[in-house]
Structures are given as C-alpha cells and as structure tokens.
C-alpha cells in the first residue's frame, strides 16, 4: 500500500475529527492504490489531491457544527456568559463598523506588546532568571586583579591552591580554561570547543552527569588515563543520544580518549574564561604537568570558580580574600605585591557588561508602552464623541451604566487581545532577529526565548494596556448624564469632564515622550561612542581562523615550525590573499598573558617590575592587520628559532616605560631571556572595544 503524501495527511488532520481520521486515510489510500494500478501514477495523485482539497470544506463545516452544538449546551441559561457573548458579538460589530480605528488600535498594541515582550524576554533570561546550576547564588568567580590588567579574570594556580587549603568561606573551588581542539568522532576531524575542567570544577558547579560520571582524581594526573566528558548537546548531535556511548573512545588532538560521562542539558553557558558565552562540545580534565610554568606564581592563565559555604555572604568572602592576598604579598613579594583576590558573583561575570544597556532598553520600551496606551486612550475618547448618542439611548432604554462600561471594556480588551497575540508573534520574531544579529555579544544567548513567564508578562501587558486605554472612556460613561450629554451633543461640544481627561492624557504623553527622547539620546550616544572607537587595526578584508596541531604528529618545535611555514607559504600563494600572519590571540577577542619584565640598564627589580601583556605573533601579524609601524623595523622571518631574540612593543608600553624616548635598540629581560626591542607598533584594542589598550609586547 502506498503511503499518503504528508501534505494530504496534514491538511486532513486539520479538519477531520481525530476519531474519523484513520478511517478516512485508509479509505483514500485504498482508492488511490486502485487508481494507481489502473491509470498512471500522476493521474492517481491528481485525483488524490482533488479529493483532499474538496473534502476540506464539508469536514470543516461538520466540525464547526459540532463545536457550536457543544457551546450551545455550555452557555444556554447562564446569564453572565450570555451577556459576555452578547458583548463580544456587539464588539465585533462595532469593530467592523470602524475598521481603521480598530486596525490602528491593534497595530499599536502589536508594537507595544511586541517590543515590551521581546525586551522582557531578554532581560528575564539575562538578569532575572538564576543560572541553571544548582545553588546558583553561592557560585562566584575568583579573580585576581593586578594593576595594568584590572579586568583580567585569571588567577595563578599556586595562589588558588593555597586558598583552597586555608579558606573558611569557600566550600569548593575549581580551575578551568577553554580551548579549541581537533576531535574525531567518525571519519572527518572537526574543531571542538573544550572546557579544560580542573579538579573540583564540575563538583563546584554541582553538576550531576546525565550519564556516567565526572572526572576522577587520578585522571588529572599526567600519567593517568585520558577521559572525555560530552556536553548534552554534543552527545545528542554526534551520538544521537545513544546511551551506550560510555566506554566508547574518540580521538581528540590525535589521542584516543574514553568517554566517561555526559553532562546534563544546561541552559546556562558554561562559565569560560576566554569566550563570553560558550557552546562547548566536550570537557577534558585540566592536567597541569609537574614541569609546567603554571606552577610559578607569576603565571596567571587560568580561571577559577568557587562555591561559598552556605550562609557566607559576598562581603565576608571578599574580606577573607583580601586578608589572604595580603598574606601572599608578604610571603611572595616578588610576584604577589599589588595582587589582590576577589570573588564576583558568577552571574555578574557572565552578564556584567550588558547590564546597564539592558536596563536602559527596558526603561525605554516601558516608556513606549505607556505612550502607546496614552495614545489609545485619547483615540478612544475622541472617538467616543460619535457614540454618546448610542450610550444615551441605551441608558434611556434601561441599560445600567455599569453594563455599558463593561461593554466598552470588553470591546477594548477584545481588540487588545488580538493586538497582544500579534505582539507575541512580533516578540518572537524580534527575539530571533536579535539573537541572530548578536550571538556573541549577548551572554547566555541560548537561554533567551519565549517561555511561560514571558508569555505571562505579555498577557499582563496586554490586559493592562486594554484596561488603561479603555478606562477614561469607561469612567466617563459611568457619569453619564442623559439630558446634559444629549444637549451638549446638539451644541457640538464635548463635556468639560472629557476635556479634563484629554488634557491629562496629553500631559502624560508629553512627559513620557520627553523621557523617551532622553533615553534614546543616551542610547544613540553610547552607540556612536562604540562605533567611533578606533580598534587600532583594519578589520576590512581580514579573515581569521583557529588551528591547533597535534602534538603527537608534530612533537618538536622544528617540526611545528616547518608545518606552519608550509601552511603559510601555501596560503600566501593562494590567489586573492595579500598577507598572512598568525598570533596567539586575535584583537578584540580578549586573551593574553600577563607578565613582568626588567629594562636593561635600569634598577628594575622585584617586586617593582613593569607589567605588560605578552602576545606571540608571526613576523607578518602586524602587517596583515595593517597595524601601523611607528618606529624601528617589523619582525622578519629570520628572527625565528635560533637567532637573537627580538620583540615589538606597542605605543602604550613605549609611552609608559620609556617616557617618550624611543625604545628601539633597548634590551629587556623577560623569563630569563634577553630580548632586543626592534620596533614600536600602534595600539590595538585587545580585550574589547571598551578596554583601553594596555602595554603589550
């Protein structure tokens, strides 16, 4: 038997009572089969569609009739409901009689409710809803601000290890980092975002794996086994949610790893150091080898989160951290002078930067909504002039004024509801558009969406707007004075009371408009400031990509260097490519590595060493990004492994530490190596557009 096309099924499903549907479909396919056997298949298909389409009308009628019969038994005899039904029916007639007014009201409502709901759904997801980890209010991010990098959120490993041993306010903490790795599930290798989870990271977040387990202590050792944990999304997309993935192995960066767990589905972005919001694929254990430079207090590379003990406030933990940092500064003056430790609520670190903008936006949209309501109110009031006679006649025939007022409210709420439904639709579109335009700027982006809370707010906004807009008119009707109104109508004047209300509405409208103008001005200003900042490099026609090479296949620096040389030679000869450069970090994306250095020939000594951000780049990094060379020469290919060590500094470093004199030709000591500064380049905004450039090497 041939299966019926999906379109046919869907069409018929719309109008056929569910109990009849299987019989109907069986019947159709029976004759369709017979026809397909005797005539041609296309002709049979044509017959099928004609049958289905011609069936829609009669079936829909049957359904409607059944529903109407049901409703008749529901409402007969109930005066409240009958009245309401009458009100609704009458409202429809009134609305149809003045289509332009009705359409205006609906359109205003759609815009008002749509924007309000869209903005609320974003504010809700970002600011109001707690993070989706258990006990989110106890989660903090540990940061270690130092002068010159006050916004860097990284900490040093020994500092945190000491802290974990001694702290009384912290229940548990975990270090972590993020990295891109090459992974291979089936045949094609692909680039995966990995969280490098230190010991205690998952436990601090209180994550309960959906399958399997978190990492075990021996897996954090250099010599231990090599496990991997999948995020829920990655498991669903790459393993189709099969429960037998535990124990399977996948190849990551050339090394087979055993899948030991699957994380629960999390709405919240994983807190990651480098990425503002991360859709991560896998977790790897953060292995810190004995010989790693990370064991040096100087190196601040990793991020840390901590869970506070129950009842511990942010103030208390920060007091403790400050005292602890002072102790470290005494014990390790070389590295820890001027270094502090701070706990910041995890949610603030995720949504921090956009908070003021969001609040401003929310206020602005609230003002728009109020203006919309005021507009509707005055519109309705103005229009009521034409209905005074109708109300007067109705009340003369014995209608209670409350009945007329209710009729009016039903009218407005009806229109408002239509507008509200449209508004929810608009909000959906707006939110999708916003998320599509700013996927990386907005944190927690995968949490944004319309849910029950947002719909509730939309409903509330709709009812409130309908009520507010209808109120002035309804109040006026309550004070209906037959003789006076009819007389005034004859003279063509509005009542004094109505003019008062109208005046009030106009005043309110002007006030909210002014507020809105201010808000818009501020927003505009912020936007202009943002776009006016020179990033320090030319982003036009620049493409970036990340690569990571397997340490197994390229074990020595020479082989790695050879691989990169070959890669860039072939890229450079690609038609259309002008320049190729590489570096550890791309501009604006954040990242970097803070360190100190000593100027040769000066009294620079610990603990007062100058600080800077270090970036490792290829000779052509600056020229590919069109970063201007201000003095000296650029790096050359011959400056690589084996030749004297050289460095470029940015203008900020030259200005800060060489006080206007040219640093070209000067030598500095940095990590027990002596480097010669060969050139000065322009400043680039490394962290974000808002962060001023800091000294860079």
């Amino acid at each position: 038997m041939n299966a019926l096309p999906v379109a046919i099924r869907a069409l018929l499903e719309l109008v056929t009572p569910p109990t009849e549907l299987p019989y109907l479909l069986d019947d159709l396919s029976e004759e369709f089969d017979a026809r397909a056997r005797t005539t041609t298949h296309p002709r049979a298909t044509l017959w099928l569609y004609s049958q289905a389409i011609r069936s829609l009308g009669p079936l829909a009628m049957t359904r409607l009739r059944a529903r109407r019969a049901e409703r008749a038994t529901l409402t007969s005899g109930d005066p409240m409901l009958t009245q309401l039904r009458d009100d609704l029916r009458y409202s429809l007639r009134v609305a149809a009689r003045r289509p332009w007014l009705s359409l205006t009201i609906i359109a205003t409502m759609v815009l008002g409710v749509g924007t309000t709901t869209a903005v609320f759904s974003i504010v809700d997801a970002l600011l109001l809803r707690p993070l989706s980890f258990p006990g989110p209010e106890q989660l903090v991010r540990l940061t270690s601000p130092v002068p010159d990098a006050p916004s860097a959120m990284v900490v040093s490993v020994p500092d945190v290890t000491d802290l974990e041993r001694t702290s009384r306010s912290i229940a548990s903490l975990g270090l972590y980092d993020a990295r891109t790795v090459t992974g291979q599930v089936s045949v094609e290798p692909e680039r995966l975002s990995a969280v490098l989870a230190g010991q205690g990271f998952g436990e601090t977040l209180a994550l309960r794996p959906a399958l399997g387990r978190l990492f075990q202590p021996d897996e954090y050792l250099e010599t231990g086994p090599s496990p991997v944990i999948l995020t829920h999304a990655f498991w669903a997309s790459h393993f189709a949610g099969h429960r037998d993935v535990i124990g399977q192995s996948m190849i990551i960066s050339g090394k087979p790893r055993t899948i030991v767990g699957v994380l629960p589905p999390l709405e919240s972005a994983y807190p990651a150091g480098v990425y503002p919001s991360g859709d991560f694929d896998i977790w790897l254990p953060l292995v810190i080898p004995e010989s790693s430079f990370l064991h040096d207090r100087v190196a601040m590379q990793l991020s840390a989160i901590a869970r506070l003990r129950p009842g511990v406030t942010l103030e208390r933990v920060n007091t403790e951290l400050a005292a602890f940092a002072r102790g470290l500064a005494v014990d390790y003056p070389r590295t820890n002078t001027n270094r502090t430790l701070q706990a910041v609520p995890l949610r603030d670190t995720i949504v921090g930067p956009v908070r003021p903008m969001l609040l401003l936006l929310a206020a602005a949209v609230g003002a728009v909504m109020l203006i919309a309501c005021a507009n509707l109110g005055s519109l309705l009031l103005a229009h009521s002039q034409s209905r005074v006679r109708e109300f007067a006649v109705r009340s003369a025939m014995g209608a209670a004024s409350s009945r007329i007022a209710r009729q009016l409210l039903v009218e407005n709420l009806g229109l408002a509801t239509i507008g509200g439904v449209g508004g929810i639709w608009l909000a959906n579109v707006l939110v999708k558009a916003l998320v599509a335009v700013y996927p990386t700027q907005l944190p927690r982006v995968n949490e944004i969406g319309l849910d029950a809370r947002v719909l509730l707010v939309a409903l509330g906004a709709t009812l409130l707007a309908g009520w507010l807009a209808g109120m002035p008119l309804a109040r006026q009707v309550r004070r209906l004075d037959l003789s006076r109104d009819l007389r005034e109508l004859e003279r063509g004047l509005g009542s004094r009371h109505r003019r008062h209300v109208l005046d009030g509405l106009v005043v309110g409208q002007v006030a909210t408009s002014v507020a809105l103008l201010f808000a818009a001005g501020v927003l505009m200003r912020t936007f202009l400031d943002m776009t006016a900042i020179q990033p320090g490099f030319d982003a036009r026609n620049v493409l970036t990509f990340d690569i990571a090479i397997s340490p197994q296949r390229y074990p020595t620096p020479e082989r790695q260097s050879a691989f990169y040389d070959a890669l860039f030679d072939s890229l450079r000869t690609t038609p259309g490519v002008q320049d190729v450069g590489w570096g550890m970090f791309t501009p604006l994306a954040g990242g970097g590595w803070g360190d100190t250095f000593a100027r040769e020939g000066t009294s620079d000594a610990a603990p007062n060493l100058p600080a800077m951000q270090v970036k490792m780049v290829s000779p052509t990094y600056a020229s590919a990004l069109r970063i201007p060379l201000l003095a000296g020469r650029s790096l050359a290919r011959t400056d690589g492994t084996g030749s004297p060590d050289v460095a470029l500094v940015n203008a900020a470093l030259a200005a800060r530490y060489y006080a206007g004199a040219s640093p070209v030709g000067k030598r500095i000591t940095f990590q027990q190596r002596t480097l010669e500064i060969v050139g000065v380049i322009g400043d680039v905004r490394s962290q974000s557009l808002w962060t001023p450039p800091s000294p860079e090497l």
Binding site: V15, D27, E31, R54
Partner: protein, 111 residues
C-alpha cells in the same frame, strides 16, 4: 422529532447504503455513488454527510473484523436504522409523486 427532509447528498448516501448492504464503508459508498449517478463526490463530503445522518439517527456505524491486508485495522461500516429506512421511503414516495406524469427521461450518463 420533527420530520426531517433529506438533502440530495444525504439521499444518495442512504441509497448507496441500501445497494451495498454489508459492504458499505467510506470509499465504497463514494465509488457506488460515482458508478451509479456519475457524481464524483469528495470523500470528505461523504464523511460529513454520514456524520449529519448519524446525528439525525438515520444511520449507525459498525466495525468490521480487522482486515489482514490493511495492517489489521477495522473498517467503519454503516447501515440504515429503521428510522432511516422510514425517512428514505417517505423521501422516495415524495420524489415519485413529484415525478409522476412528467415523463422526464434520464439523459444519457457521462462516464
């Protein structure tokens, strides 16, 4: 119960039920009407008419034994109720009365 008159399609469906007897179900009714009257009726219209007739208590459904060929699903068959038979007979009588003496010859049927 007020005396209900039958629409054309209702009449056709009820007559088809009589012709088909125990074989009357959705598509066979449609085919029977097409074969005998030349009307190509949509299957949805047949269902709608049957629902209306059932409301008037003129027809009643019964389920056949599951068919092995159709994936084991039963068919919903229809038959006239005594009330339906009476309504059909009175409709036939009024039609016959109206036709009597007119000498209308049926036009040759299009296939």
């Amino acid at each position: 119960m007020p005396k209900a008159r039958l629409g054309e399609l209702e009449l056709l469906v009820m007559l088809a039920l009589l012709h088909l007897g125990a074989d009357a179900y959705g598509i066979s009714i449609r085919q029977e009407i097409e074969r005998r009257s030349g009307h190509d009726v949509a299957i949805g219209a047949i269902y709608a008419t049957l629902a209306r007739l059932e409301e008037k208590r003129f027809v009643t459904p019964w389920l056949s034994d599951p068919l092995p060929v159709r994936g084991g699903r039963a068919r919903k068959h229809w038959k006239l109720t005594p009330l339906g038979e009476r309504a059909l007979r009175s409709a036939a009588a009024s039609l016959a009365g109206m036709l009597d003496g007119l000498g209308l010859t049926p036009e040759p049927r299009r296939s």
